[in-house]
Symmetry: C2
Subunit: 216 residues, 2 copies
Amino acid sequence: VKKQLFDREKHVYKCDEFLELVLNAIRFFNGTPVHGLPLVDKFNGTGIYAIYYTGKIKPYEKYGVLNRSEYNHPIYVGKAVPKGWRKSRISDNTQKQGTELCSRLRQHTCNIKACGFDLKDFAVRFVIFENDSSDMISAVEAALIKLKLPLWNVVIDGFGNHTPGKGRFEQAKSDWDVIHPGRDWANKCNGQHNEASAILDRIKYYFSKTKAIEGN
Amino acid sequence: VKKQLFDREKHVYKCDEFLELVLNAIRFFNGTPVHGLPLVDKFNGTGIYAIYYTGKIKPYEKYGVLNRSEYNHPIYVGKAVPKGWRKSRISDNTQKQGTELCSRLRQHTCNIKACGFDLKDFAVRFVIFENDSSDMISAVEAALIKLKLPLWNVVIDGFGNHTPGKGRFEQAKSDWDVIHPGRDWANKCNGQHNEASAILDRIKYYFSKTKAIEGN
């Protein structure tokens, strides 16, 4: 490579339309039908989902109030991307429609149930992104999280965790598992986890900053 | 939630313009200046980079031929996203410009050098995505990988790995580390790794499917 002077400006890309497209997708998302758990129907596809809490159980009773008139304050936002999306592995490049989104929601339903919640206190919204649009999934998910600051995304880690891989049980139980015992594999994690009281304090602090979440 | 009939179509989002924007970004990417390694100048920002191999060392000599007239066949494509992007953690929400991209390229440079390569045989291209545009990073990276199928992304795992976290040395050495010994921490991974001969066969197979990579 011939040496050339470095000019940062030549490397900067700006694209204002991108945010517009992401916001369009979020508006569509917020207009889709809400379903109770468990989902009865099976469906194909990948995409984004939001889980809403509408019950009265502490420390989440505030969500019940916030979501009284509309489903607007998810406790968790997640995504299910096409298999092999990150890596585009040749072997995974079949573009076959899987059931990732539906399976992910079923997993979450199992976890919620296993940890003693009442499924009636939850609802979900989800959007399927097909073909080329599936490349939007990560950007839309990230924007939705930034906009809504769902508690189980931004304050409490671990709800979306999977069973740790072989030999990974040296790690600590996640914050979510500390305050919601019930997942078998979580109890096998041997690392030094955070104290429940400290985690609950963070939740209290989060709800005290109401503007941060009510403004949305 | 009132029970309602499930209608999949109500949940499907389509957005053709999205792919257009991603392709615009890729075109910009392919027009940016190429630099040799190591990078001399420090710079702020997050974004996407491609690493090109132009040397004659086996099993990568084909890249030297493919990149003879232009830098068009990266051996690796990666990204450096803003800290806290995935989680939008409140505490990380400072939107401060870090040096993620520059640091990532320096790390790669160290790894390449540590494993006995000649830095002269490598070149990089990178684009900085600022502010709202930084939400595009993952989508553009994924599209670039799909388009170019870089060997160290789609065939050989591990080049981009970091030192495993505490207690994670039970995992296997990555394929990349098996055929490119030199990273200290890789030797501490105790799991059952793949055989070098099998990995090299996969590389041979990849280059034999020349259309897959030359067509780009």
